[in-house]
């Protein structure tokens, strides 16, 4: 059964993709570093502390997460991932977005051609409901449909 959630738009756009869910904070540097360095086409998550995502392909997925954590290079990493076309299809935050993820999303929106809608404040229910491989649709008004 489909369920919809309404959040706040950080970077506008639409997307339709399979969900990839991290229940704990997403460490941007640890997740992307090796994949970007070794040009991994699937962009597998390199964060061994993230049991939900470790070694799973992140490219073109609807990345569902509470917030990002870790190094303040996080925004720069996300920007670089977008500039290299290695970004997820969208990023969907259950909590209000943190300053590092916001920086990455905003840098990507202004300085790259990548299309990566970002929506935050979707609520705890969103993260409890969504599971890996469910289909996610993001609308221009920040509505996220999970089915």
């Amino acid at each position: 059964m489909a369920k919809t959630f309404k959040g706040r738009i950080i970077a506008p756009g639409t997307a339709k993709a399979k969900a990839l869910v991290s229940h704990n904070g997403f460490n941007t540097l640890a997740s992307y570093q090796m994949a970007l360095m070794f040009k991994d086409k699937q962009v597998k998550c390199g964060d061994q502390n993230n049991n939900d995502l470790y070694k799973k392909p992140m490219i073109d997925k609807a990345l569902c997460l509470p917030e990002t954590i870790g190094s303040t290079t996080g925004g720069m990493i996300l920007y670089a991932a977008c500039a290299l076309g290695k970004q997820p299809a969208c990023m969907l935050f259950s909590k209000p977005i943190d300053s590092l993820a916001a920086s990455g999303a905003i840098l990507a929106a202004n300085w790259t051609e990548a299309k990566m809608p970002v929506v935050d404040s979707l609520g705890e229910d969103f993260l409890n409901f969504v599971k890996d491989d469910m289909t996610i649709t993001v609308d221009t008004d920040g509505t996220v449909t999970v089915e």
Binding site: I10, M37, N49, A80, L100, I106, W111
Partner: protein, 423 residues
């Protein structure tokens, strides 16, 4: 967000399309956090967290190339995080090959930093606020920094005002000369959400206490009571060195950007408990709690009994006084152990300016005699090499433990291991 005429003109393209994009980026950043205005940066110098020319980050250097091409350079000189490579630090032939591949943009990036306005050849350190480096903001200064350990130190110990910005955003603030006013730039954003009561029977180790608090309060602001009993009521060399290491652990094990220490840090001295926000939660820390936290650290070495091959100390970079104190501690411990040199290759890291001053003291030759290597390197960047990751490396830095495979030990444990050896 309400912009001044000057800011609006920049956004409208008065100084070109690139500068307009810089402003748009900062405005969007501020809007996300409900900032109502931009405020001028008032610190003398900036600081950028990006100090590495890593191949995979080419888009960053291309963006900086664009800034330079369109003359969108920093309005203030700045320091940068430590360099990623130093030939003095032990590494294998294969590690060196990987380092060469990993950091193949280093020369290009340092040339860009020269043009963008780096303070000097020696301005590469995470502890830019140390007096020997010369980038020490004044109380109330507005900063555009990103290095987490420097931001938390500047906010908490110096009373400056800076958000936990991201790399690139730090530089864009310095280029525009403005930052959006939200979070730690506001009085309200500097109020404490947590009260932490220290009830230990002995002095808590800075790196462990910071870790415990960071893991508990995450991005919130803690007001810490009972620590002045151990580190005093004066911001002297020892207290500042303690707070440097403590803060780095809060920022990396959680994402703390500001803390207040009762009777010690400037705002806590001036305003006391008025800084504690309504409904603040309480966290009591005793020796058992610190033991629990330390025992919770995972170790990702393949062989947990492996003999350490390298020890890093100085993340964040050590102060001049720390280098002197550790020289004496290592000498004394070697004497007790009956050894002349350290038994595990050990690297102490510090800022180039601090190293230069240290070399002028009698301690420099004494430290060299113990076999310890002194370097300006960033240990994190050394450990990012996949071959380094496989090495059994030990450290007393909780930041290094958090971001790499390095194994954490307390100062006394490390001292014993490097001077007596590990069987």
């Amino acid at each position: 967000m309400i912009l001044t005429k000057e800011q609006q003109a920049l956004l409208d393209g008065e100084k070109g399309e690139t500068m307009a994009k810089v402003m748009k980026t900062l405005v969007m950043y501020g809007d996300t956090f409900n900032a109502e205005r931009m405020v001028p940066i008032t610190s003398t110098y900036g600081h950028t967290v990006i100090s590495f020319g890593i191949g995979a980050m080419k888009p960053v250097y291309e963006l900086y190339e664009k800034l330079l091409l369109d003359n969108a350079v920093s309005q203030q000189k700045f320091s940068a995080d430590p360099r990623p490579l130093d030939k003095n630090v032990p590494s294998s032939f294969l590690q060196d090959v990987v380092f060469k591949f990993m950091y193949n943009q280093q020369k290009r990036y340092e040339e860009q930093l020269d043009k963008l306005g780096i303070m000097s050849e020696d301005a590469y350190t995470c502890a830019c606020y140390l007096p020997e480096v010369g980038n020490t903001p004044k109380r109330g200064d507005i900063l555009s920094w990103a290095e987490s350990s420097a931001v938390v130190y500047a906010n908490s110990v110096l009373g400056a005002r800076c958000n936990r910005n991201s790399g690139i955003i730090d530089m864009m603030g310095s280029v525009a000369g403005f930052v959006p006013e939200f979070g730690f730039l506001t009085d309200e954003g500097r109020k404490a959400d947590w009260v932490v009561e220290i009830r230990t029977e002995k002095m808590p180790e800075a790196q462990l206490l910071g870790s415990a608090i960071g893991m508990k309060v995450l991005e919130k602001v803690p007001y810490i009571k009972g620590l002045d009993k151990w580190i005093g009521k004066e911001l002297n060399d020892n207290a500042c060195a303690y707070l440097k290491d403590f803060g780095a652990a809060t920022a990396s094990n959680g994402s703390v950007g500001l803390y207040h220490i009762e009777n010690l840090t400037p705002e806590a001295v001036d305003y006391g408990e008025k800084l504690i926000g309504e409904g603040a939660s309480v966290y009591v820390i005793d020796d058992a709690e610190l033991d629990r936290v330390k025992n919770s650290y995972p170790c990702i070495w393949k062989d947990l009994d492996a003999k350490p091959k390298l020890c890093f100390m100085g993340c964040p970079h050590m102060t001049l006084q720390q280098l002197k104190d550790w020289t004496v501690r290592v000498e004394e411990s070697l004497k007790i152990a009956g050894n002349k040199k350290v038994q595990i290759p050990t690297v102490f890291t510090s800022a180039p300016g601090v190293i230069r001053e240290f070399k002028e003291t009698e301690y420099a030759t004494r430290l060299e005699a113990t076999g310890i290597i002194l370097s300006y390197i960033c240990p994190l960047m050394y450990m990012n090499n996949p071959l380094s990751k496989k090495m059994p490396v030990i450290t007393s830095s909780n930041k290094l433990r958090t971001y790499t495979s390095a194994r954490f030990y307390l100062d006394d444990e490390i001292l014993k291991m490097i001077t007596k050896g590990v069987q």
